[in-house]
């Protein structure tokens, strides 16, 4: 049983000046550590306080109506909430197979190690590109390149509500693709870490009973690392819901509700970035209300992610 240094310090007799310095330093670190808690509580309290007026005026109606009209002072955030959920979930749907597939490809021995490390490095660097630069790229490169394909989608699947509008530039689909680019590195990095943590005994046992590389991956290695992967996916979902700049620049910032993925839309974060600086009156409060909804969504997702990693982790 190793001795805790904490107890050792208590055993020694020390001059009072040293004791005071130590106590002072201890309390200083406690204070700095508490900053985290203070900031978190302040964020929640300030945003909640700011949204009280709008909550009183619109109540639950705010969440299910899509009329965002500063002229008539009538606010409903359905468009932004729908946009937030749809863009983050659809981007997750695309990014999860890509990210987990990439993670498998660079942790299992398909290609030589230097090549694997290079792919890993490149994915990490992708995460370092600022979102505003991705937004710029999306405006000038991605969206024009994508439009012919989206137009084709529209004319082929006109009857499905998701493709019912003609793409006219910025819209939800380019925003979704930019989000994929942004959350892909998170999913890949976390999946890679959890795949690497699977003990070698499990692999050896799988190969020992005659499984191929892929049946070992699918039936042994992936199930063993699933908690980490799901945790990573949840973190990525939180990031996607809160992502602001790239989405603001490419989603079109329209407050007219539309089911269509090809139409311009809005997300809570994008709406805040666009309107918060110039808002006044109950628009500020309504934006705060929307911000509060966003905080709650990301909080729930992040806390779930932490719980999943903690509770679901398999005991090998």
């Amino acid at each position: 049983m190793p001795i805790d240094p904490n107890d050792l310090y208590r055993l020694r007799r020390r001059p009072p000046s040293e004791k005071q310095l130590d106590t002072g330093f201890h309390w200083l670190t406690v204070l700095t550590a508490s900053t985290v808690a203070i900031v978190l509580v302040l964020i929640l309290a300030i945003v909640f306080h700011g949204s009280l007026e709008s909550m009183g005026l619109y109540g639950w109606r705010f969440l299910v109506t899509s009329n965002w009209n500063p002229v008539d002072d009538e606010y409903g955030a359905l468009t932004a909430i729908y946009g937030t959920m749809v863009t983050s979930l659809v981007s997750l749907l695309i990014a999860v197979p890509l990210g987990v597939g990439t993670a498998i490809f660079i942790t299992e021995r398909f290609i030589p190690r230097p090549l694997r490390e290079m792919i890993g490095l490149m994915v990490e660097l992708l995460a370092a590109i600022p979102s505003v630069v991705l937004g710029l790229w999306a405006i000038f490169v991605l969206e024009p390149a994508l439009r012919p394909f989206l137009t084709w989608l529209h004319f082929t699947f006109k009857d499905i509500p998701l493709f019912s509008t003609q793409p006219l530039g910025p819209g939800m689909t380019p925003a979704i693709l930019v989000l994929v680019v942004m959350i892909l590195p998170i999913i890949t990095a976390i999946s890679r870490d959890s795949l690497n943590q699977v003990p070698i005994r499990l692999r050896q046992a799988a190969y020992g009973v005659g499984s191929t590389q892929w049946s070992a991956i699918l039936h042994v290695i992936l199930p063993a690392s699933i908690s980490g992967i799901v945790g990573g996916v949840m973190l990525a979902l939180g990031r996607a819901m809160g992502e602001t700049m790239a989405v603001t620049m490419i989603i079109g910032n329209s407050n007219n509700f539309s089911w269509s993925l090809l139409a311009p839309g809005n997300t809570i974060a994008a709406m805040l970035a666009n309107q918060f600086g110039e808002a006044d009156g109950s628009q500020v409060s309504s934006l705060m209300y929307a911000a509060f909804v966003l905080i709650l969504l990301t909080l729930v997702v992040n806390i779930l992610a932490q719980l999943i990693v903690k509770r679901l982790s398999l005991k090998y």
Binding site: T32, V39, L299
Partner: protein, 299 residues
């Protein structure tokens, strides 16, 4: 004798690899899919970087770094106001977040590894790192900007730095915590053995020992902060001129890119690309520095 005869009479199983077996076909198919996915995953990096390089590098000139941005309609100008503002805001954020973060990390790793308060702070750190960056902006706007708490100033570089600090703080705490946990307890006992106090042990022994992994985390968090836009839009706001002090609005590269990207003028769009090039070069440079520091640690 008998057994060797029966073994020989049994047909020898064919152990060669047969690519047409269904399990092998399945394996090859999945391998190709995974390989394809990896290609798709690294493709955006090349697409974005090459385009930023192509559009931005051609605009590089001394004017870019030394002139203020052009007035609307004019051709000649640079992005020096934004570069200067970015440096100021990132510096303020670092000055706030690094000491507080290291202090918090020291508390978690040195004083209370598993106490309830430490667990709570660790949980809070994870939650805070998941808070969307725009919320940090909204928070600082409501707490600092709209209340004019900073000596009557509203939008200011300090407010922008505070918003960025909120985002940097969790990373600094986490890397300090993890870096310190890797320092062997033997060192702490040895320091105690020669009569060092807790404070001296932490400052002279454990922190220097963990300095490289902490430095890696700090450099990465600075890189992230330098590229953030959302927290700055309504805290540091923007200024088309050189900064007039830290209690006034300042420009920043990221907000410049955001503003200029959507302007209908060619000159401004070109400057947005040039600013992207400068920003991406700076951030990727910092990332490589962090990686370089990190290789020292693992050695």
């Amino acid at each position: 004798m008998n057994s060797t005869i029966t073994q020989a009479s049994r047909p020898i199983p064919d152990l060669r690899y047969k690519p047409t077996r269904s399990r092998n076909v399945f394996g090859i198919a999945l391998t190709s899919i995974a390989g394809l996915f990896s290609l798709v995953a690294v493709l955006p990096l090349f697409l974005v970087l090459s385009y930023v390089l192509y559009k931005g590098a051609s605009k590089l000139s001394l004017d870019l770094f030394f002139l203020e941005q052009p007035a609307p309609g004019l051709e000649v100008g640079g992005i020096s106001n934004a570069i200067q503002g970015s440096i100021i805001v990132t510096l303020i954020a670092s000055l706030l977040a690094i000491p507080i973060g290291i202090g918090g990390g020291v508390f978690l790793a040195e004083y209370s590894r598993n106490g309830w308060f430490a667990q709570f702070i660790r949980f809070g750190t994870n939650v805070l790192s998941g808070v969307p960056s725009i919320i940090a902006g909204v928070f600082i706007y409501s707490a600092i900007v709209s209340t004019r708490i900073l000596f009557g100033h509203a939008y200011s570089a300090v407010a922008g730095g505070m918003a960025l600090a909120v985002l940097m703080l969790p990373t600094v705490i986490k890397t300090t915590d993890e870096g310190l946990k890797l320092v062997p307890d033997d060192l702490r006992r040895a320091a105690l053995g020669v009569g060092a106090s807790r404070f001296v042990t932490t400052i002279r022994i454990t922190l220097p020992k963990a300095s490289r992994s902490i430095a890696t985390g700090i450099v990465l968090s600075i890189a992230r902060a330098a590229g953030e836009t959302a927290p700055l839009i309504f805290t540091a706001l923007y200024s088309p001129w050189w900064a007039e002090g830290i209690f006034n609005p300042v420009g920043s590269l990221s907000v410049l890119i955001f503003k200029f990207a959507t302007m209908p003028y060619e000159v401004q769009n070109e400057l947005a690309w040039a600013a992207s090039f400068v920003l991406v070069a700076f951030i990727l440079g910092l990332n490589l520095v962090a990686r370089w520091i990190n290789t020292f640690t693992s050695r």
